[in-house]
Subunit: 203 residues, 2 copies
Amino acid sequence: MKLYDGGRAPNPRRVRIFLAEKGIEVPLAPVDMGALGHRSAEVTGLNPLQRLPVLVLDDGTVLTESIAICRYFEELHPQPPLFGTGALGRALVEMWQRRMELNLLMPVAQAFRHIHPAMVEWEVPQVAEWGEANKPKAVEFLSILDRELAGREFVAGDAYTVADITGLVAVDFMKPARIELPAGLSNVRRWYDTVKARPSAAA
Amino acid sequence: MKLYDGGRAPNPRRVRIFLAEKGIEVPLAPVDMGALGHRSAEVTGLNPLQRLPVLVLDDGTVLTESIAICRYFEELHPQPPLFGTGALGRALVEMWQRRMELNLLMPVAQAFRHIHPAMVEWEVPQVAEWGEANKPKAVEFLSILDRELAGREFVAGDAYTVADITGLVAVDFMKPARIELPAGLSNVRRWYDTVKARPSAAA
């Protein structure tokens, strides 16, 4: 298999962190997204949506969408479980993965894409007002998350999961999106320091 | 258990269709979203994000996020499988569920929320330019979907799955969002007529 990787962008990084946590090595095909390599004929042929990462299996089957790729590896290599265990545990991890993605990573990404000058060819049209509207959405969610994290170590419970990966990537992406982590969110800060200190965070 | 339901809104409907396909009956607690019932103290206490649906288990555990709720029922009642079978099958359903959600349901919902006058208290601020920018995104994805559906009956393969549910709900939501299904997308039209004709579509 081969993983078409997109470097520093948040979604490719989610998959690399996931693989690092699992201890799985997959051959990478680097794509220069800064040079719009994700819109090349090769990548478009694999993924008409022109997004990365893309996993190509040995039989040519193409898998896209970071979380779908992660789930595939979870099925092949169940240990350590990063999507939860048991019916309720798996549902709760899914809930928190989605909450972190839809209410944190996505607003942060929207702020970046609609405001940052480097994104002018990526997001057409850039709507600065929409970008700005996303900043308080991300901050408001972080306040809710802070109250949740008062009672547990990780986002979805007592174990590190894919929800933590999405959260780590989202918080790190706040820097280029120019959103500051509000002071006083001590539980979020403690959680972030914990997940950022894991070796996988360097992936 | 009890399912806090939100009537005609797309996400509550996704869960109701899923339950209908599974033949599962869950007691519903109707919430009047038109009267902003999802922002009541009761719902906010269950889901600080103030979104529906919300599933409350007999022990008080709260599950939110439509797809997490669906996955919980899939775990409890595996037949018929609506999240795919086998490692690759499950990954492909996840991929298509996400594609239908992120590239169709979400743009349609953004167009609705940022343009429709009834949404002025829901989406603050409404950014009409962003709403309009989403209409061509939805239409472009439908063209890609049409090419994909040339070779198979359902969104993720030869079996009806949760990806079809998200797609059906998204296409039906195009009407209030005032986005027309482009003429000529004969595969999308054939697929839509098939999934719309299932009894579950009335849920």
